[in-house]
Amino acid sequence: MSRLSSGGFIDRSRIVKFSFDGKSYSGHPGDTLASALIANDVKLVGRSFKYHRPRGILTAGSEEPNALVSLRKGARHEPNTRATMVELFDGLEAFPQNVTPSLSFDVMAVNQLISRFIGAGFYYKTFMWPASFWEKLYEPIVRGSAGLGTTPNVPDPDHYEKASAFCDVLVIGAGPTGLMAALTAARSGARVILADEDYLIGGRLNSEKVTIGDRDGAQFSAAVAAELVAMPNVKVMSRTTVFGVYDDSYGAVERVSDHLAVPAPYQPRQRLWRIAAKHTVLAAGAIDRPIVFDGNDRPGIMLAQGVQTYINRFAAAPARRMAFFTSSDGAWVAAFDAADAGVEIAAIVDARRTVADRLLAEARRRNIRTLLGGAVTAAHGSPLKSVDVVADGKRERLAVDGLAMSGGYSPNVQLACHHRGRPQWHPEIGALLATDPPPRMKLAGAANGSYALSACLADGAAQGAEAAVAAGFAAKTVALPRCQDDPVEVQAYWHVKDTAHFAFVDFQTDVSVKDIEIAAKEGFIPVEHLKRYTALGMGADQGKLSNFNGLAIMADITGRSIPEAGTTIYRPPYTPVSMGALTGHHRAKDFRPTRLTPTHFWAKRLGAKFVETGMWLRAQYFPRPGDKDWLATVQREVTAVRSSVGMIDVSTFGKIDLQGPDVGKLLDRVYVNTYSTLPVGKARYGVMLREDGMVMDDGTTAHLSDDHWVMTTTTVNAVKVFSHLEFCLQVLWPDLDVRMASISEQWAQIALAGPNARKVLEKIVDDPAAVANEALPVMGAKEAKLMGGIAGRVFRLSFSGELGFEVAVPARHGEKLAEAMMAAGKEFGITPYGTEALAMMRIEKGHVSGPELNGQTTVADLGLGKMASKKKDYIGRVLFERPDLTDENRLGYVGIVPVDKRNVLRAGTHLMPLGAAVAVANDHGFVSSATQSPTFGHAVGVGFLAGGAKRIGEKMRAYDPLRGGDFEVEICSPYFYDPQGERTRV
């Protein structure tokens, strides 16, 4: 066991059992999976992506590129989890990834032997030819080797949520800087959100041995956190990663239950937050940079900050005998902490020739050997057994089972780049800093290149105060506590030159120095090209550890400075976000809300089958015992309507109430036909165009009284037409006085159709004479009392081709109206019908609907050209008169019937000349809607054919390769049923 006998923020009184790679281990509450593995002497944790090289744990944070594991089994199985971020829980099962067949023996490690041939650009060069190999051979190979881990193939049993939060000051990162920023802003009265990805507030204060005032770092952070939590204007969000900066909001994910085997009752697994902040302080800290040398990926090699964290926070020693390889002061302090914890330190190798006397003295006090101006040139063993060291021309091999490295710090500027601000090179600290952060974001502390603790506290307090003042609060001064003030000297150091083949730059994508050399040689020199050619920084860690080293090495190779080589940029997300969190409750049937019609439950009681039309659930058909299948049901419904009477809920149509003196003018301008002359008590069918001349929507608009009209739209365009009219009134014609309100939801509307429709209607309206043929002629519209005093509206409209009425009542009476119609129609065998029968009858009748109003058809294409007024202007008129849209050979509206009446015609079928070969050049048109008409006893269809109506009578080939149709059809008029409309006038 490598667990230290004392120290750390773990609860030694409790044992947590877990397993990794099938073996059982134990840890303590407070451990991460990574710290518990280290405490159990597990060094080998995974295999690398491309070469399947053995890998261990590199870091103690969210930047971890190596220790990617799968968690849990079954439906909660979760791949690609960073062991460094997994809180240990009892019963946790973790598995290594990318191992074939096992972690300790991986046959794919053979890739290392052929690594010289599968370097950067291998895929591009190899899988190009012959082209015929792609689908059968190459793609399966590439797909097989792509990705890490596997996804479960059963639904996630947990639920996820989305939420929003608002604040004056958002502080990202709860280390010393963030705590001071939050405290200062909060004491000034600002609403503060403090978010940190860790479950323990304090950041590096939990990893480093520091004193602040009269307390140690962890006590200080606990005290500040307690004060913040107690303040009503502060929300402290631990386990919350702010992952993206968007327009006026931040994206964050809160891992509510990831640290539990199963979420507590009614708790989500994760919660996605949209945070709107007036001002933001980014205090995300800085992370150690790896150094590139031969074998730098071997298990046992770790970043110095990680070593320090495991020793101080988790009381777990990553090795028994360690060397430190660095160019910054921080790693020296980490070495001292390791030595103090009982780890034998073989040497501190520093690339710098001089370091502060204070550090040398501390090393001497602990009898630690120091090698200045030195380097580690190679590492051996898996896990690590020794390292080769060179200093002052002398080479030697040190037997160690651990190596800590730090080539300087990379400030965590990622979020500051999300608005395309490119980080800039600052040679004085050897790092890239954000100089162009998103609006109202300031960086503070180590994230801004200030590494000394005193500087972090001061910077945090200053930025917190500034943010509060900017948000309109009077800043209260917060006394800065005394603390260590040692400067932290850093020299950027990234590459031990002349190292052999396996000197890794990007651990997660297995990019080595060699790959960068290949990219340079082949001309992929600009940093964005380098990235795409080699996959540098394209792992899930987005190059947090690798991008800088990659571009710096490219700069070296091409003899340029880092600014000349260019810097990469970061995009959201900062760390990977699960799809579940992005989806929230909106999954499966809750993908979008479901809308129910006023007669939904009535239809359900009658056994209706429902269909989703947009968000609506509409009755599709009403099966009865004895119906052979759905088609038989629908045909029965159609026959009932044509021979007696049927009814259908049409409440889903958009309904717009229009009042005011200028409604007529508005309608004349938005419809192709004229409305201003329509008398009160009448409705008219109209077609609206888009500005480009294509048909947007159709429907009827009725004139109820002098200044009062009601428009109907198709179901699908209800919102679109409303907003179109809003645009017209607010932007195009602000002079028109029209008062508009959506009444789609206010009115339940049921269509009554068939020769006996009036006989049924007469029993529902309070005054039967009001609906007589003369009193309510075709296209008549009137307000009427129904069912004993309910104020409703009756329109004489027909979509079925039969005598028809649409009856509207306030929606709460919708069911009552349906039941009244059923009772009144019982003697006539009234039949409720659904959207299928509606569609069947409209095709028989030749009415256009959704498949014809497809955004590519003009009013002339639809055979409605005569409706378009020549006497007035209207939206779409100018572009509708374009030569191409008036070409007589455009696809025009026709009817189609099979010559052999046994054939089934289907929408989507292509129309070609008889005997023509199957070729795009011979494609003359298509069937847009078709049905098995019970009225005619055979299939009828409508569609579009080049030349349109002038080709009526022609025989054509109907070709439907998708469903195996190929037969002869005759082109005819689309108005199959009662073309003169006599049945509606009776």
């Binding site: 947990d158 639920h159 949520e161 989305k162 939420a163 929003s164 939060a165 608002f166 609403r191 979420p263 507590a264 009752p265 009614y266 708790q267 989500p268 949209r274 709107a276 409750h585 909106h586 499966a588 049937k589 809750d590 979008r592 809300p593 479901t594 809308r595 129910l596 019609t597 006023p598 939904h600 359900k604 429902f610 609506w616 659930l617 109430d657 009042q659 005011g660 003196p661 200044d707 602000p734 002079d735 028109l736 006085d737 008062r739 508009m740 309100a741 959506s742 009444i743 789609s744 939801e745 206010q746 009115w747 339940a748 104020a791 306030p810 929606a811 709460r812 009476h813």
Partner: protein, 198 residues
């Protein structure tokens, strides 16, 4: 089962009752109200005249923005320039429309919406926490208090809502066809605090 929705079909309305966490008092309470509703729209350039007529007629100062003002049981909620939702208790939709029309003249139009929207009254100690999951509107008492209103979307469902007191109590008007979906989204967001539907 922590996901209430998984066991409830979208066209199966949530029955009144207690759901979710077994808290002493429900953290979130929702009650379906039966209010008379109307939309009121000023004619072009006639908003001042309409406001004056209503001020004289029923003593109300029509809100100029997204606010809620009530007098004698009739509340006016600003939903856009020259547009208001009117919500009244203890009166029928037809009667409300008649009452409004008496003051309109040529200055505006009104339209009955009593069947078009359903109003839910939401309250409880955790109502703000639950609403944070439905709304992208800041309802912190520092910026949103009694008399505040907003027209927005809640879990993809269009709504106008207003705060009636500092308890806090909110009223949400949602289109009738969406009412079951709204309750569904609300319940899913509120069950962790204990949810009661009446």
């Amino acid at each position: 089962m922590s996901d209430l929705l998984a066991s409830l079909l979208p066209d199966q309305p949530l029955a009144p009752g207690r759901y979710g966490a077994d808290t002493q008092a429900p953290g979130v309470k929702a009650k379906r109200l039966d209010l008379a509703l109307a939309t009121l729209t000023a004619g072009r350039g006639a908003a001042p005249a309409l406001a004056a007529a209503l001020a004289a007629g029923i003593g109300i100062a029509l809100p100029a923005g997204a606010q809620y003002v009530a007098v004698d049981g009739i509340g006016f909620i600003g939903i856009g320039p020259g547009r208001w939702t009117v919500a009244a208790e203890g009166i029928s939709g037809e009667a409300l429309l008649e009452r409004l029309k008496a003051f309109l003249g040529a200055n505006g139009s009104a339209c009955d919406q009593s069947d078009g929207s359903v109003v839910f009254e939401l309250s409880g100690l955790k109502v703000r926490d639950a609403l944070a999951k439905l709304l992208i509107v800041d309802i912190d008492p520092a910026v949103f208090s009694a008399g505040s209103a907003a027209t927005t979307s809640a879990a993809l469902i269009g709504t106008t809502f207003w705060q009636t007191d500092t308890a806090p109590t909110y009223r949400f008007a949602v289109a009738r066809s969406y009412a079951p979906a709204f309750v569904r989204a609300l319940a899913a967001s509120a069950v962790e605090y204990g949810f009661e539907l009446t």
